[in-house]
């Protein structure tokens, strides 16, 4: 049995004018680390709120651990952990007070499930008497995770846990998630950062309320249908305009210092040819390589196909 099931879920706001979630279906297996990848406003938060029984869907059914999200919401509330996107704890309570409060709220004690949060909590323990408002972004996030875990949930919902947190903390956070997965907890996490997609076992790419693709990151990348080239030159802006204006170019997007390009109807483009062709056009320091797509390339392609 799947831990989380969404079956043709639709959710609209403002009397149907704004569609936040549009006919979404997906399943998450027990013990899986599942990522919901998409930009702001794609409908990630609405999906999480439906699953955590905070919102009622208009159409479709959803269930968590076999319990219906509408009818059996009490059972679900006893069994899941949830970290909302803008969750910021009680700023005026200390670290220890926050944790104690949430433990009691969920009818448990810190001691009872300490083993589960031990590794994470040890890192913030030196600051246990500090007010949560005075913690750094990374430490707040660790505390929030502890609070969401303290009642030993079977499924953990994390809505954009890494947004606005620096790289170091983000890395540590994903490492913590991998550890939690070892303990058998099903984790569903959302993120707007495409580079975090590969850290999940399976992902769903979501845009404008619709699921564009659900699979392992590997398979999504493998199904990228065209040859992809990364190109750079001394004057990146001129390179961009030149390539965009060329009729053979199918897509051309900036990726850091490189441009990622696909061509129309050239099944076997040679990087060497491409380089020469660009040099003929007066570009200096040209570098061309054929590359494997990233999740972001796939996302853009799926977005444009939709």
């Amino acid at each position: 049995m799947s831990a989380v099931i969404l079956d043709h879920i639709t959710k609209t706001y403002e009397n149907g004018k704004v569609t936040a979630v549009d006919d979404v279906s997906l399943e998450v297996s027990p013990g899986e680390l599942f990522g919901l990848i998409g930009p702001d406003g794609a409908g990630k938060t609405s999906v999480f709120r439906i699953l955590t029984t905070l919102l009622l869907p208009e159409k479709g059914t959803a269930s968590v651990l076999g319990f219906d999200c509408v009818k059996n919401y009490r059972e679900i509330r006893n069994r899941v952990g949830y970290m909302p996107g803008r969750f910021s704890l009680y700023q005026d309570l200390t670290v220890a007070e926050n944790l104690h409060f949430f433990a009691t709220l969920f009818g448990t004690t810190i001691e009872e499930n300490y083993t589960l949060i031990k590794d994470i909590y040890e890192q913030i323990k030196p600051f246990s008497n500090r007010r949560a408002g005075k913690l750094s972004g990374g430490m707040k996030q660790k505390l929030a995770l502890c609070c969401a875990l303290i009642h030993k949930p079977e499924v953990l919902f994390l809505d954009e846990p890494t947004t606005g947190v620096d790289v170091v903390s983000r890395k540590e956070f994903w490492a913590m998630l991998q550890q939690l997965k070892q303990q058998g907890i099903t984790i569903m996490v959302s993120t707007p950062y495409m580079d975090e997609a590969v850290l999940c076992e399976r992902i769903a790419l979501i845009q404008a309320g619709r699921i564009m693709s659900v699979d392992t990151p590997e398979k999504i990348i493998d199904t990228f249908p065209a040859q992809l080239f990364a190109v750079k030159a001394a004057d990146i802006y001129r390179l961009l305009t030149d390539l965009r204006n060329d009729p053979a170019t199918e897509s051309c997007y900036t990726f850091g210092e490189y441009l990622h390009i696909t061509f129309r109807g050239h099944p076997d483009t040679n990087p060497q040819q491409l380089q020469e062709w660009l040099e003929q056009r007066g570009h200096r320091n040209v570098a061309v390589k054929q590359i494997r797509a990233t999740i972001e390339d796939s996302f853009i392609r799926l977005m444009n196909e939709a």
Binding site: G41, S136, G138, D166, V167, T254, F255, E257
Partner: protein, 247 residues
């Protein structure tokens, strides 16, 4: 040798015992996209405030667009543009009203504002939305409009404080296309961010750790130097040892 638009020498800002910015030195060239990276609390915001003419340094020298940060703050403000993700436009004013307001703030004549505003609305493809409230626009459009407004008075430098967060990959790229275009037209772009993928778009980046500039080079050379695949890893190596962290 390209013209220097920002010159920073041993710039320091101290709050009591706390040295927020510790003797930083760098130059930014005309038309350059200059990334200013650092973890929360590394001193990015403090340094940028000084360069924008919003606060005085404790010691060291800096000139922005040729003006001194101690004595010519007013001239600095007239020659820079500013955009941040937190605040950039008035949500309850229309697109046109926002443009006219910000044009007015910089003292442009009304005729000039009208002319440029019409051009801008046309290039952005917002003709149908010109009379709509900004709050009703999608996030991506707001960001593009905010950037256009920030460079509306043709500043020499534009400061972008964590400009793109959370938009879809296509919109984000359209945004960066605009930045490249502005840079190609000679406007210097100064971006602070802690999103490393944004760093990859910059010509050169600085990484600040604990108030000091720990690294300053092109993304490619930094990646080479730290034997990393991406800026994420470069940053991780540099910032991992950071002692302070705050919001």
């Amino acid at each position: 040798m390209a013209e220097k638009v920002i010159e920073c020498r041993e710039l320091t800002k101290q709050f009591g015992d706390f040295i927020a910015v510790n003797k930083i030195s760098f130059d930014v060239m005309k038309g350059e996209i200059f990334g200013f990276l650092g973890a929360n609390g590394a001193g990015k915001t403090t340094a940028m405030r000084i360069l924008c003419g919003l606060s005085y340094p404790s010691s060291g020298t800096a000139a922005v667009a040729g003006f001194d940060v101690y004595k010519q703050q007013e001239s600095i403000k007239r020659n820079i543009g500013y955009m941040s993700q937190k605040f950039s436009l008035y949500e309850n004013l229309t697109v046109t009203e926002n443009i006219e307001f910000f044009g007015g703030v910089y003292g442009l004549p009304m005729q000039e504002i009208r002319r440029r505003s019409n051009d801008l609305i046309r290039t952005l493809g917002l003709t149908a939305e010109a009379k709509k409230l900004v709050g009703a626009l999608p996030l991506g459009w707001k960001q593009k409009l905010a950037f256009s407004v920030a460079i509306f008075h043709r500043p020499r430098i534009v400061f972008l404080d964590e400009p793109t967060g959370g938009v879809d990959p296509v919109t984000r790229r359209q945004f960066w296309d605009m930045i490249y275009e502005a840079a190609a037209s000679g406007i210097t772009i100064f971006v602070t961010t802690h999103y490393m993928d944004e760093a990859e778009y910059c010509n050169r980046v600085t990484v600040m750790v604990d108030g000091k500039v720990e690294a300053l080079d092109t993304p490619a050379r930094l990646k080479q130097q730290y034997q990393a695949d991406n800026m994420d890893e470069v940053f991780y190596r540099l910032a991992r040892g950071a002692k302070r962290s705050a919001d």
